[in-house]
Subunit: 565 residues, 2 copies
Amino acid sequence: MGHTHPTVADASDITIGPIRGSHKAWVGTTGPAGEPLRVPVRRIELTNGEHLDVYDTSGPYTSYTTAAEVHDLAVGLPRLREDWSRPHAVPADPAQPSSPRVRTQLAWARNGVTTPEMAFIAAREGLSVDVLRAEVAAGRAVIPANHRHPEAEPMVIGKKFAVKVNANIGNSVVRSSIAEEVEKMVWATRWGADTIMDLSTGRDIHLTREWILRNSPVPLGTVPIYQALEKVDGDPTALTWEIYRDTVIEQAEQGVDYMTVHAGVLLRYVPLAARRVTGIVSRGGSIMAAWCLAHHTESFLYTHFAELCDILAAYDITFSLGDGLRPGSIADANDEAQLAELRTLGELTRIAKGRGVQVMIEGPGHVPMHKIVENVRLEEEWCDEAPFYTLGPLATDIAPGYDHITSAIGAAMIAQAGTAMLCYVTPKEHLGLPDRDDVKVGVITYKIAAHSADLAKAHPGAQLRDDALSRARFEFRWQDQFNLGLDPDTAVAFHDETLPAEPAKNAHFCSMCGPKFCSMRISQDVRDYAETHGLTSVEAIEAGMAEKSAEFVDQGARVYLPVVD
Amino acid sequence: MGHTHPTVADASDITIGPIRGSHKAWVGTTGPAGEPLRVPVRRIELTNGEHLDVYDTSGPYTSYTTAAEVHDLAVGLPRLREDWSRPHAVPADPAQPSSPRVRTQLAWARNGVTTPEMAFIAAREGLSVDVLRAEVAAGRAVIPANHRHPEAEPMVIGKKFAVKVNANIGNSVVRSSIAEEVEKMVWATRWGADTIMDLSTGRDIHLTREWILRNSPVPLGTVPIYQALEKVDGDPTALTWEIYRDTVIEQAEQGVDYMTVHAGVLLRYVPLAARRVTGIVSRGGSIMAAWCLAHHTESFLYTHFAELCDILAAYDITFSLGDGLRPGSIADANDEAQLAELRTLGELTRIAKGRGVQVMIEGPGHVPMHKIVENVRLEEEWCDEAPFYTLGPLATDIAPGYDHITSAIGAAMIAQAGTAMLCYVTPKEHLGLPDRDDVKVGVITYKIAAHSADLAKAHPGAQLRDDALSRARFEFRWQDQFNLGLDPDTAVAFHDETLPAEPAKNAHFCSMCGPKFCSMRISQDVRDYAETHGLTSVEAIEAGMAEKSAEFVDQGARVYLPVVD
C-alpha cells in the first residue's frame, strides 16, 4: 500500500499494552541467507524469578504502552517481510517437468529451498526447519503468506505443529464500522487468534479489508464469493466467472493470505442436500447451489478451477477449499452430501498442488462425538492429508447461547485426531453477531481446545505451561497462577469476587475450602514431612514410618496452617 | 422430619415458575403393585402445535406460579415416596446364603423384586423396568434413595441410562447463608442438576443440610468427613472412627442419599502422592493422608469398612467411593498413586456389594485427552463396572476462569466412554466459591457434556431434541429454537442484543448474514423447488433438471427472499 487512507480508525479505537504479568520479547534466529530474524514471544515473568515464553500472535500492539507509540493505522504495520529474500520461481512440482514455475512456499519446499518464512516458523514452533519444509513439501502443512501481505508474521498450519485457531470477524448490513472491525482483529490476536477471517458482507467491504490487512500481524482469510455477490446486488444467479475472478484478483492484490472457495458444490450434489434436516448452511455453499440450480450447469468455480489456481499461485495465496455442504445439524452429520463434496475436494486438492498452490480443507460443522474421528480419517485419505480446518464441530444442537462450548468439545476431539486449525465459534453463534466480549470468549475457548489437543498429541513443550501453572497453584503463588492462564484478567476478577483483599493473593488457602480444609496446604505439609524424612517410596514408609510418625505428632502434626503470609 | 424449623428461608428466597416456553407435566405409569405413579416431565410447547417432553429434575418449583403456592420450606416438599410400598428385607446377595438380609435397591434387584422406584425410573428414562432391574442387580447402576429422604424423585445412575450431572453447593467459613444454599439447590435443579452434593464446611452444617434435604427433589450427597473434622476443630489427627461413625449416622438419619468415603487412601500410598506436582488435591484425601501419617496406622475408613457398609445398608445409602488421590494436574494424571487407590476401591466395591450396599466410584480430576479412556477401562475392570462418577476431568490446566470449559471437554469424552455421572465444574473452580450465575453456567455446561455423550452412545430418544431444535432453526421458528435449548433466557437475550425488534423473531434471516446472505433461506428455496419438481435424487436431477432449471429462472429464481412475515 503506497498511499494512506482517510483515518477511520486511530489509536484510541484499539487495545494496546501487555497482557497482565507478561511483556513482549523476541527470540533471535537466522534466515537461510544468515540474515537475523526476530521471533516474537510473550514472556510471562514469575514471582519465583523464572519466566515462561509462550507463542505470541499479538503483533506490536502488546508492546505499545501509550497511544503515542502506536503506528499510523492509516499506513499500517511495519512491512516485516518486505526485505526478506524471496527465492526465484521454481517448478511447481519438480517431479512433473511440465508443471508451471511458481513462487510459492509449496514449490520452494518441494525444490528443497528453505525460505525465511520457514526459518522464522521453525523457531516459532520449536521444531527443526527440515521437518517443517518436509511437511510443507508433502502438502501436510501450509504457510499462508501472500507476497502482498508483508506485515504478517509467518505461521504454519499442519498437524505436526501446534493446533491453530481462526477468529471470524466482519460486518454485515445490520451492524459494525471499520474501526470496530480493526479493533476486533487486534483484540482477537491479543488473545491468541492465529489467523483472522474477514467475512464482511455489509458496506465498504474493500476498504474494511484494506484496514484490517495493513494492520494485521496474522494471515487474513476471506470468502471472495461474498464480495462478488455484493457486486451483483445479492442475486446469486447473476454471478459469473468473470465477476468472481476479478474479485479474487482485487483481494489478491490487497494481500489476502487464504481464500475459501466452495468449488466442491457440484450440481449433482444439490438434491442430496435438499433432503436434509437443515439443508445447506454454508453461505457460499447455498449461493453456489442456487447458481447451479438456476443455470443447470456445473459450478464455475469447478469448471474454472485450474485458472483460479494460477491466480492464487502468482501471489502464493492458500486455498481453503470450502465445505459448502457441511452438515448444519447432528441429523445431517457425515451424510452423502457432505462426503460426496469431500471426495471432490480431494480431486481439487491434487489439481491445486500440481500447480504449486497450497491447500487446506474445510470441515464441519455439527457432528456427534462418535462420528468425529471418521471425518479426519476420510479427509486425510481422500485429500492427501492436506491440513484440515474445521468449524467446531458442535457435538450437540441443543444449546444456543453456549455453542462455543458445544463446539469446543468437538473441536478438541477433532484436533486430537489431526485437525490442524480450528475456526472458533462464539456464544452468539446462531443468534447474533459477536461483540468484543464474544470474540474474546470464543478465542479463549478455542485456545483451550487447541491446547488440549496439543497435550494429547504430545506437541513438544506444550505441557510446560500446564506444569508451570500447576506448580504455581500448589505453591500458592496466586499471581503466577493467574498470569500463566490464558486470561489473567478474568482469573483475577473471579478470585477477587470472593477474597478481594490483596494479602489473600498470597494466602496459603483459598475461598473454596478456607484455611482448615485446604487440601493443598495439608498435602504440602505431608510432602514436606515425607521428604524431610526420606519417606519417598512405599518401601521407605513401610520400613521407617512407625518412629517417624511419632516424631510428626511431636512436632505438632503441622498438617494444616491457617497462615497468611 | 416431624417438626418444623424456625424459618431461615422462605418463598421469596427461591426461584419459581416455569422455564420459558415450557410447563411442568406428568406422565402416568404404574408401580409393581399396580399403584399409579406420576413421572414429571418438562413439556416444551412449539409454535407448530407439536410439543417435546424432556427429562425434568426441577421438582414442584417450576409448577409454582406465585409465592403463595410455594410449600412451607420449613416443613419441606411433599413426601412423595412415603406411601410407596417398601418390600421386606431380603438377602443382600441371594447367591451367598450367609449374606445379611437388607432393604436396598441392590438386594431387591438381585432377588428379582421390582420396587416402585424402579418402575418410576423406567418410565422416566423410557427404558424397560427389566433392563433397569438387571443393571441394578449387576451393580452397573445405582438408585441413590435413602429411606429417610422420601421427598426425592427416584433416578438412576448407570452407563445404560442418560448421563447424569451433579452440582456441588455448600457454604464455607468464608461465605454463604442457609437461604442462599437452598436457593442454589433449587436453582441448580431448575437447570437440570440430577443430584446435589452439599459440601458445606462452615457454620450450621447440620441445619443447612436439613433445609436442603427437606426441600430437594433430587438425591443429596455429602462427604461426612468434612463435618467430622468440624467436630474435632479442624485437626485431622484428632479424628476417630467413633466420631466419624456418629457423623455418618447423624447424616443417614437426616436422609442423605449417597456419601463420599475416601476409604482407598491407604498409608502406603501417601508417599506416592508426595512426589507429585500437585500432591493431594482432594480435601477428604488429604485429611485421611494426614491422619494415616500422624498415627502410622491404616485408615479407619478402611479398617472399619464392613461396619460402615452395614450402617449404609440400613438406610439404603449409596457409597460414592472417593478418589482421595485423584490427580490435581495434567502432570499427575493416571499415576501410580491414582491407580493404586483405584485398585483398592475395587476391593472395597466387592465388600460393599456383598453386604447389599450400592456403590459408585469417583474419578478424576485433571486428565489430558489421550489418557481419558484408560480411566474408564481400568475402573470397569477393577471395580466390576460400578457406575463411574467423575469430576470433569479438566483436559488442560492453563485456563483458570474457564475450567467449566476445560473440564466439559474431558467430561464429554469420559461420559462417551462410559462414565455414568459427571460432577460439574464452574467458572470459579480454583479461584473462588461459585455464585448463582456460576452454578447455572456450570450446570448448563455439564448438561451439554452429558447430552453430547448421550448422542454418541445413541441413548434412546436423545437426538429428538437436537432434531426438533434444528428443524425449528431451519424453518425460522425462532421462539421454538430458543425454547428447545438448554437455556432459553440466554438465547433470547443474545438474539435481542443484535435484533431486538419483535418481528425479527419471525424473520426469515438473522443478524449474522442479513437477508441477502441467508444460507438457510436460500437452502429452503432450493429444497422447495427440488421437492416440488421431484428432484430428490442424483438420477432425477441428472435426467430432468435441464428443463426444470429454465422454469426455476422463469419463476423468478426465488433463491433468497428478504421477507419479514
